[in-house]
Structures are given as C-alpha cells and as structure tokens.
C-alpha cells in the first residue's frame, strides 16, 4: 500500500481547496447545526421529555433567528457589492438567493408554530418534527443558493427526503403513511428524471456549473442541440414535479390531503419557493440564450396548471384537496412570471422574475394561513376537513371563518389583499413582455377560480340547518374549536402579512425588483 502511494504521489497534483466563505453559508450552517443539536439532545437526554421538548423549541428558534440575522447581513452585502459567487463557483450569493431563502425561512418558522399545537394534540414526537423541518429548510436554502447543477440536485434530495418522512410523520394514521409513500415514489421518480437532465446537460456543455453552462452556450454554437434540449426538458420535468405544475401534479392532492396539516402548510409554501428559485436561476439565468426553445414549453405548463388548478378544484368536496388543487393553479401564475422572466428587464418595466418572486412570497403567506385555519378546524386524528364540516362556521366560530375568508379572498385576488397585487404584478410583467395571450388566460383562470373560493366562503356563511335541528333536539353540540397559541401567532402573522402586502406592496415589490437585479456574476 505504501509503495503504491509512493508511486502515485508524484503524479497527483495538489488539490486546490476552495476558500470557505463563512458568512455565505452561515444561515445554512445555523439551521443544520440547530437540527443536529436537537437530534443529539433527543438521543442523549432521556430522563425528562418536557425538558427535551422545551429545549428543542428554543434551539429551533435560535437556529432560525441566527439564520435570519445572517441573511439580513447577506442582503446588505449584496446590495453594496452586487451578487457574487463563492465555493469555487458552486454557491451564488445574490438577491434571488437571499429573497428565496427568506421566504423558505419564514415558511419554516410558521410551520414550526403550527406544528407545536398539532404535535401536542396528536401525541407525536416534537424534537423529531423540529429537526426534520429544520433539515428540510436547510436543503431548500442550499437549493436557493446553488450555482451548480450537482449542488441543486443534492439540495433537492436533502429537502425531498426530509419531506417524504414529514409527510408520513403521523405513522399511526394510514392516510399519512400513504401520503408519504406516494410522495416518495413519485418524488424519487422526478429526482431521477432531474438527474438524467443534469447528465444530458453536462454531456452537451461539458460542465455542471450554471455559470459555466451560460458561458459555454454564449461562446459556442451547437450544431446538434438535441442533447441539450433533452437535458432542458428533463430538468423542467423534474422541477415541474416539485412545484406541482400540471401535468406533473398527480401527487399533489393526495400528498397534501394525507400529510399532517402543518406539514402541508410548510410544504406548499416552501417547496414551491425553493424549486421556483432553482427554475428561475437555471432557465432565466443559464439557459436564457435558448429562451425561444423553452418558452413555449413553459407556456404549455402554465396554461395546463391554470386549467387543472381551477377546474379540478371546483369539484372537490375536501377542503385540503381543494387547497391542493388551488396550489397547482398558483404554480401556473408563477410560471407566467417565469415565461416572461427577463423580457421586461430594461427600463421601467417589471421583469417576470421579480413578479414571480413577489408571487411566491404572497403565496407562501396565503397558503400557510389557509392551511393553518384548516389545521385549527381539524380535530384529533386530522379529520373533519370535508366541505360539509365548514357549513355554518360563521355563526359558531366567526373569528376563524373571518380569517379563512381573508385567506380565500387573497387567493382569489381581491383588491386590498396581497393576492391581488401578486396577480397584478404577474399579469403586468406578461403584458409588458407582449405576452397578451398568457395574461388573458391567467385573468380568465383567476375569475373562474373565484368560484372555487367563494363556494367555500358561502358554505361557511350559510346556515347549518342540521346542527340547529340537532341542537333543538337537545343533542351534544359540536366541540368548540380551540386555537392553540402557536397556531394563533402563525395565523395572526399570516393575516397581517396578507393585508400589509395588499395595502402597501411597494416596499416588498421594490425589494423583489432589486433582488432580481443583483444576480451573481
């Protein structure tokens, strides 16, 4: 062995180690460190479950606060110096990365808040849930920063694998198991497709670095684009699965319905943000030169998502399923932004990337709010989310009905809510880019989807004759809905955010706009 080493030694050149830029990875390290600390705490401290639970919550919030602080620092750094690359070009620190990471981190915090009460009600393990949520968020944050397709893939898998476990977290409930298995099989399928896309793109361009790909495509005219375009298509399919864009949405309703509700809330918001962050970076960034090749495909995906999201949601009788289908529709609206990603970058026009980022932020808040209300409404065993369970809610629980109405109106796109501004921004960017057809289809979908949301609102405000008859006959009234403190804080924050983003959107829109202009060079 030593002899072999001695022979091999002169041949091998020294390996250049990348400079470790700690502030760049500090948010990720803080989140991962907190998750690891929770796992170790759970393993080592066995005498007091209460102590472990309390400390894990403190650790989780400490990790998230540290990450948020470093993100804030990164944002200022990026604003001063512009976006930059580090870790030998594998990681990008720029406006897009910071914005998406902020959305994901916020979704994680709200998911933890919602999860606290849920875990207590369902008698599940709190430390494991927190550790998995933090690990999942770590993967998503890396994905937002990734500037190399292999890093994108590893990040995608880190958060996907954590999400498979989280979907199946409530192991005693068969629905949760089933959601985990279905998500796992289809998720692994989509990951494999995404990976094949990476391999083909690597074969066509000779590199997996996103910057390298852009440079290669700018400097070389390919005589045979088949390999490259096949790579694009497979990458788009793989990420299309993750953002739940039609026709790759088959898993969405089942998984969203079966997964524990706080996980559904987190997953719907954060996965979309992370995967769309990668889509924007890959397609609007590296593949921009071939925009005429991928634009029609994204157009098709957007239209399909809008149609499936609105039409299928209209016939659902389960509120969680209905919100899952509406999540597919929202993916369609963000895809409109991707479609016109860089088209409006010049002058006073709104680039599609900025509109997409703003939409992702607003969707995160609306979705977590709506699923949060569903979680409060469900009873032990995560049951009672059929449409009929919401009948007459306005009379028995006016506060909850009001909150859900707010989130549903925001998802419809009613003025004075964030949803209105987000839809307006997406349509404006499409119109600015001259994509009138897409803007028109989007507006039609928004109008039709209003029916879906208003159906639920009307159900809540309709009198519940069954319950009143039962009460008249002296039957036991339905149990009062209890809002635990964590869910209360989460609902308050999301409701406030929906209103603030609707009434004073300019500040956030400006930040989204700036973020898209501070891309890593």
């Amino acid at each position: 062995m030593t002899a072999w080493l001695a022979v091999a030694a002169p041949i091998l050149p020294p390996i250049a180690t990348p400079r470790v830029d700690w502030p760049t990875v500090a948010p990720v390290v803080a989140m991962f460190g907190a998750a690891l600390a929770i796992v170790l705490l759970r393993a080592l401290v066995r005498h007091s479950r209460r102590l472990v639970d309390t400390t894990s919550v403190v650790l989780a919030f400490a990790g998230m606060a540290t990450a948020a602080g470093f993100l804030f620092y990164q944002w200022h750094l990026v604003r001063e110096t512009g976006g930059y690359q580090t870790f030998a070009g594998a990681v990008a620190v720029d406006g897009l990365a910071v914005f998406v990471q902020a959305i994901v981190l916020g979704a994680c915090a709200l998911g933890v808040l919602l999860g606290l009460g849920y875990v207590r009600r369902e008698a599940l393990e709190l430390p494991e849930l927190l550790a998995l949520l933090l690990l999942c968020t770590t993967g998503m944050m890396v994905m937002a920063q990734a500037n190399d397709l292999v890093v994108v893939f590893v990040a995608l898998e880190v958060f996907s694998i954590a999400l498979y476990v989280l979907s199946a977290f409530d192991l005693r409930r068969a629905e949760s198991q089933e959601a985990g298995l279905k998500y796992f099989v289809l998720g692994a399928f989509s990951s494999a497709i995404f990976l094949y896309g990476i391999a083909l793109t690597y074969g066509a361009t000779g590199t997996t670095s996103l910057t390298g790909i852009a440079t290669f495509l700018a400097g070389n005219t390919l005589t045979h684009t088949g390999l490259l375009l096949a790579g694009f298509a497979l990458l788009l399919v793989g990420l299309g699965f993750k953002v739940a864009a039609a026709p790759f949405h088959m898993w969405t309703p089942d998984v969203y319905e079966g997964a524990p509700t706080p996980i559904t809330a987190f997953m719907s918001a954060a996965t979309k943000a992370a995967a769309f962050g990668a889509l924007l970076r890959i397609f609007a960034g590296s593949f921009q030169l071939y925009v005429s090749d991928w634009r029609p495909v994204v157009f098709g995906l957007a239209v399909a998502s809008l149609v499936v999201g609105t039409v299928a949601a209209a016939v659902q009788t389960d509120v969680k399923r209905m919100l899952a289908y509406s999540s597919i529709g929202h993916a369609g609206f963000v895809l409109i932004g991707l479609q016109v990603a860089n088209a409006g970058a010049s002058g006073n026009r709104l680039p599609g990337t900025a509109a997409a980022l703003f939409y992702l932020l607003v969707y995160a808040v609306m979705a977590i709010g709506a699923f949060g209300v569903v979680q409060v409404m469900t009873q032990r065993g995560d049951t009672h989310h059929a449409l009929s369970d919401y009948r007459g809610l306005a009379r028995t629980e006016p506060a909850i009905a009001g909150l859900l109405t707010l989130f549903l109106l925001a998802q419809t796109g009613v003025p004075l809510t964030g949803g209105f501004v987000a839809k307006l921004a997406v349509f404006r960017s499409a119109v600015d880019a001259g994509q009138y057809q897409l803007a028109l289809i989007g507006m039609l979908a928004a109008v039709i989807s209003a029916f879906v949301y208003l159906r639920l609102v009307i159900t809540m405000y309709a009198p519940n004759s069954d319950a009143e008859n039962a009460a008249a006959e002296g039957a036991e009234p339905a149990p009062r809905v209890r809002i635990d403190p964590g869910a209360g804080i989460a609902l308050f924050l999301t409701a406030a955010a929906v209103l603030v983003l609707g009434v004073m959107p300019n500040w956030t829109l400006d930040i989204a706009h700036q973020a898209t202009q501070l891309l890593a060079k």
Binding site: V150, Y164, L181, A199, Y202, G203
Partner: protein, 108 residues
C-alpha cells in the same frame, strides 16, 4: 481480424444508448409494476442508468466532474433507500401487503 476488432469496438455512444435503455426500463417499470418494492428497484435502476451516462460523458469529455457527480448520486440513492424502505416497512406492519393497488385511501 479488423472485422472482429470492429465488432468489439465499444464507443462511448454505446454507453449512452445502454444508459438511455436502462433509464427507460426503469421508468416504464415504475409506471407499470404494482409491487412497491419493485417500483423502488426501478428507481434505483434509473439512478444507476444516470450514473452510467455520467461516467460515459466524463470519459468522452475527459473531465472528472462527471465521475464526482456519481459519488453524490450514490449517496443520495442510499439515503432514498433508507427512507423509502422505512416508509414501506411502516405500512407493511399495518396491513401485511405492499401492493400499490391496496393503497387507495386518498383519492378524489
């Protein structure tokens, strides 16, 4: 002799074709088979087909990055096996069967 040598002359293109075939077999198998364990093996087949493609491209391009990517794929595949089998075993403990047709609580 040149005829025989030509027959055995395996170019990188052959590897891409084998990779694509394996990937297709895996994808089709995943879609048509009912047993979750077999579906699971099909995913592994797809990942390994990609590995083959990566290594072939790495050789054709004379670039080690493709081989390094295979390491990451291997690790990810192992992690997926762990989580996937754990979920399957959890379901198996409950209902003594892992056929995809039995898993039909969620639909609408």
């Amino acid at each position: 002799m040149t005829l025989v040598a030509g027959l055995f002359d395996i170019s990188t293109q052959h590897y891409f074709v084998v990779g694509a075939l394996l990937f297709t077999i895996g994808a089709v198998g995943l879609l048509v088979r009912k047993n979750t364990i077999v579906m699971f093996m099909c995913v592994e087949l797809m990942l390994n087909a990609v590995n083959l493609t990566f290594v072939a491209f790495s050789k054709a391009l004379d670039d080690a990055a493709g081989q390094a990517a295979v390491f990451f794929t291997l690790i990810v595949a192992a992690a997926e096996v762990a989580v996937g089998l754990a979920i399957i075993v959890a379901i198996f403990r409950r209902r003594q069967g892992v056929t995809a047709d039995d898993i039909d609580l969620l639909k609408g």
